[in-house]
Symmetry: D2
């Protein structure tokens, strides 16, 4: 049994997304976590590593040291997961890419476009691969949706509505010492607020499922919470290359919404409606026919979505399984097997950075349209 030798940057004790990456990597037993620079605090890095079973000599105080040392080992890591705050993606990603180690990076790509461009350049020059964990693309029904759209099941796309609503920032929790809130609302560390943290997921998902390209957007962005330094709500209108229209609503002040990502696509023949509240179901409506409830792995679906399910229909899978699907596919790619061809890459990361900056540009100009292809980025 071959497993990919994995390292991790960030993700020390108390990290939310680091733990998620580790479970996702572990679920299908295709990765082995062997090295880490888990915290910039050396003591915490060490104790975190020990708790995770990482040998002391492979727990590093700095990612630079880790990249250099691991690259030199015969049994060095093959891939590294970068799960630090946004502003700390670029430097380690570049270091590992330069060292020939594959990078699995959390989203959004970076805190600034300059960082992102540097990452892109490093990726372009490296023989190592770069993956961005837009995990919602890992859901089997989302991949089913992509296939259905691509196969013409919806006809020509007309309207796409995506919402990503949360309420955990409805109050100024960054002022209470909440660590997650602290960096996610800090412009220097996060680069943006709701549009970066969740808006990029919505934008990515829309592109993934529709195979269409946003040609321009107009964004009205707010910071509703007093003293907040980043956006916490955004209304965004979209125009696609195909002529379709869409909207994204991203909010972290939507009281009552825990983590509601909701995607709807309307073509001239049919529509799809998927909500993260229950990711195991999707409504498919053909014009003039009763709506159908498609289920993950369930009746009437092609084999497509079955590849990424572990349990039969009626046995719910969730966030971690969707995330693990990315890791499973990454493992396949890295092992040279036939993998999934649509894994989010550095390009998806650059797209997300365009989205963030375009939203910010538009908002500054009173929600004027920002064109995709005239944009220097």
């Amino acid at each position: 049994m071959r497993r990919i030798r994995l390292g991790m940057v960030g993700g020390g004790e108390g990290s939310f997304i680091g733990a998620v990456h580790r479970i996702a990597a572990r679920m299908d037993n295709q990765f082995e976590l062997l090295a880490g620079a888990l915290s910039s605090d050396g003591r915490r890095a060490g104790s975190s590593a020990a708790a995770l079973g990482i040998m002391a000599d492979r727990s590093y105080a700095s990612f630079e040291d880790m990249a250099r040392t691991e690259a030199a080992r015969d049994d060095g890591i093959e891939a590294v997961a970068i799960v630090t705050p946004n502003h700390l993606h670029a430097a380690p990603a570049i270091a590992f890419l330069n060292a020939g180690i594959h990078v699995i990076c959390d989203k959004p790509l970076a805190a600034t476009m300059a960082q992102a461009k540097a990452m892109k350049a490093a990726s372009d020059e490296s023989k190592a691969q770069f993956f961005l964990t837009h995990n919602y693309t890992g859901y089997p029904l989302i991949r089913q949706a992509r296939e259905m759209v691509a196969s013409g099941a919806l006809g020509s796309l007309r309207v796409a509505q995506v919402e990503y609503a949360q309420d955990w920032l409805a109050e100024p929790v960054e002022a209470t010492g909440n660590k997650q809130a602290s960096w996610r609302t800090d412009p220097a560390r996060a680069g943006a607020g709701a549009i970066g943290d969740i808006g990029t997921h919505a934008f990515n998902l829309l592109g993934f499922v529709s195979s269409d390209r946003v040609a321009s957007l107009a964004a009205d962005i707010q910071s509703f919470v007093d003293g907040r330094q980043v956006d916490d709500n955004a209304q965004i209108m979209l125009r696609f290359q195909s002529g379709a229209r869409g909207s994204i609503w991203a909010s972290q002040v939507a009281v009552g919404a825990e983590n509601r990502l909701h995607l709807r696509l309307y073509g001239d023949k049919a529509s799809l409606d998927w909500s993260h509240d229950n990711p195991n179901e999707m409504i498919f409506a053909r014009l003039g026919e009763p709506r159908q409830i498609l289920t993950r792995g369930g009746a009437g679906l092609g084999d497509g979505a079955d590849r990424w399910t572990r349990v039969p229909p009626g046995h719910p899978e969730g966030y971690l399984e969707g995330f693990a699907n990315l890791y499973q596919d990454i493992a396949s790619v890295l092992m040279g097997k036939a993998g999934y061809s649509e894994l989010p890459s550095i390009e998806a990361g650059m797209d997300g950075m365009w989205f963030i900056t375009a939203c910010q540009d538009s908002a500054r100009r009173d929600a004027a349209w920002v064109l995709r292809d005239s944009d220097a980025s």
Copy 2:
């Protein structure tokens, strides 16, 4: 038992909304339909009247004749329901207002702003009253929602999302001889497409429930169906006087949506979520507490919404009951009883006309913002 003597203009055989108005007027037995100019086709007017039990001598070939004759009768009608296509609201409304007969007019107010202004002038000068049947304001839970917002239960409004989606115009049904589609997609008769037919409902509902005022809007409007002469889809961003933001999505090409009106309001303390799919339920979420399912007439509500229910909780009421609530309230007002103070009036009609024209203006200018109070209209 006193009943209001009612007449009707339009609503002959085959009319959808005419039949709705009649059931709504009849449900609580406070109106008696006694006269009508039910069709511009004299033969059809007569047969329709006979089928409805209207005496032959009170079935009129023209609304002008009807207004004059009924006003002169001791037992003449006290109120008239106008249920013609949009471009035929103004002339009869003005005629009846001038004759001192109360007008109950379907929405939107008119096909053009010029017609609307003439109606407003006639209304201002008449002693008769004018009601506009924005029937969604008749739902008990919608009135409950209004009361909750007004009482501060939501705190300060931050975001309002309203959608009104249908799919009956997803294909060019106007080319098939469908009578409803024919006039509703004719610019001369309808004045606008989705924004007029359903967008005005969404806009009205938002104002009704929020008690907030839209200060400006930006609209991107499309006609997706080839050859269609009016809009069939609209994405609209809203800015409220209070600083709140919102969006309206109105579409008649949303495959799979029969008649989905969905309203969500997010304040800094709580939110409300109501969908017309099941108008007997509403989700109320206070920050940091479990979401609650409020039901029409059900546990934990004040007496407010109970006034307008006829059957106990768990016994669904629907579209006709909501519509009938308007008629019931109109009857109360006309009988001089304490009625409901928030019935949609000529002002609501003018607001809707502003909405239509502002959307059209904005769309012509690439979705530029149109301000409410600087707008000449």
Copy 3:
């Protein structure tokens, strides 16, 4: 326009079901309420009649007087709605049947089997017709379900699950002076508790939709509320003539259930799932295919259910419209038009009485099976 001349027994001020019958009769304008013995209290009878627009000379102090007098008038009532408590169904029903006046009787048929048999005898000998308002059979989708089952869309029936759950009797409200609770929990006036009040609806609905016949039942019945003299919860197992099995759960102490009637039928090819919570939708599942959401009047249905809808799909209809469908069909029958052939009749009433007594018999014998056809009733 011809309308049926209608009278009413019971239904004075404060009555729930009397008001429901009146709205149902009025909705489609095919009945005219002209006479009443609305209360056994003469003063209340008179004031109730006046409030309803019944002429003073047709407001009667006794139903005997009303039956005799109306039968003798040329313009006397053609039909009478009986909306009294259960123990007061038989005497007026017999009086009107004997007088040749059609009877529209609320359910269950009677408080005792003896009363029911007397009603049956009177009905058999009368030229007048007898209708029982099992109103849930009036829902368009319920009729659609019946047609689908009859047409073989489900294959052979295997399992039928019906629930009717309420919570309004979860506490001893009969001790608080609640008028509805007072008679409905009085063995002498109601004859039974949950099994009579709501269990008979469930049993009737099951027979109506399945076209199958319950061959035997076993019932475990409880009175959970201290001091209650009738049952308030019942678990019932069913065996059908066809070999199918089923269960009914009827409860008036199911906290959180307002009025939840839920019907599911499973055949060897497909299943149906309908809940009164949203009577405008029904789930249809064919083996090996995605579940479908059928909607009232919506895509993919035959014309069957369309006959009984007043507004397009997406415009919810509810309890009153379903009830009104019975009145509409009764009017058609009484006018000699092609009506609906499956209106609940005296036979349905006798079936319901069998159900009540069989449940009581079974419960007394520790939930032993009671056979249908060996039963003396």
Copy 4:
């Protein structure tokens, strides 16, 4: 980092539940799979072991050999997961218990009561522990429900309704070579059909959440599919020691139901409603208050359920996470940490065996009541 050394009996290539146990054991990184007797087919055992990274010398051809050899090793397994068909639980369980190795056994306990009793005896005499994977007790909201009931939040229990419906055996798939169907419908290997496979889950869950004890049951059991040798549908009425009543419906022929486990408990103060369709939500209704939607880890819950969640509210967890919670708790117990005191044990297994045999007894006697404590088993 200490991990429990784990072995597995059964679970070779193509096994459903073996893979589930492995993911569940792996998810929280507290087990290490080191040994296995994965198949009675030696070649398949070996290839399965290799695919799982089990060393060749610890892949055994027989569980007897495995128990003996592993018990003798210093680094031998500490626990074994038994994931064979029901009739093959007893022998390996007894062998490992006798060898002092903890047993984690799939449900139901055994195919016969005799096997079960032998297991009970072995467990009683062993210092090793025995766990039964009634995995639905691992869901955080199910544990929350148990705490709420125990704390009196529902008041006195009155009614409990549990359903477990599937449709995968709606046709005679055992005749098509389907391996799962083959043994699960074989009386010798499974011991029972739906009542054993899913009915025991329902029965266990009811006891777990209610902390009440079923005192007697009456069961009507069917085999709807021609030629089927075990039950595929069961209606069961329950009487609890407390006086509460309940019912279980277990079906594997319920067309349209993938794997629908639905639990409802009604007390005199409040009720709970949880469905496996979306295990991250539960409805809590207090009498006279709006229903609340409780969410896993969400607002308004105590800390209880938080212990077993890995991701924040709004990030769905599913079947595998619930299953992994059992493994996590087992690990805690085996490591001597404060674990969860309510893990399903040999007693739960014996309860399930009583349930199966009582259902079969009752069904043979025309659904007569079978008492718990007078029963010889």
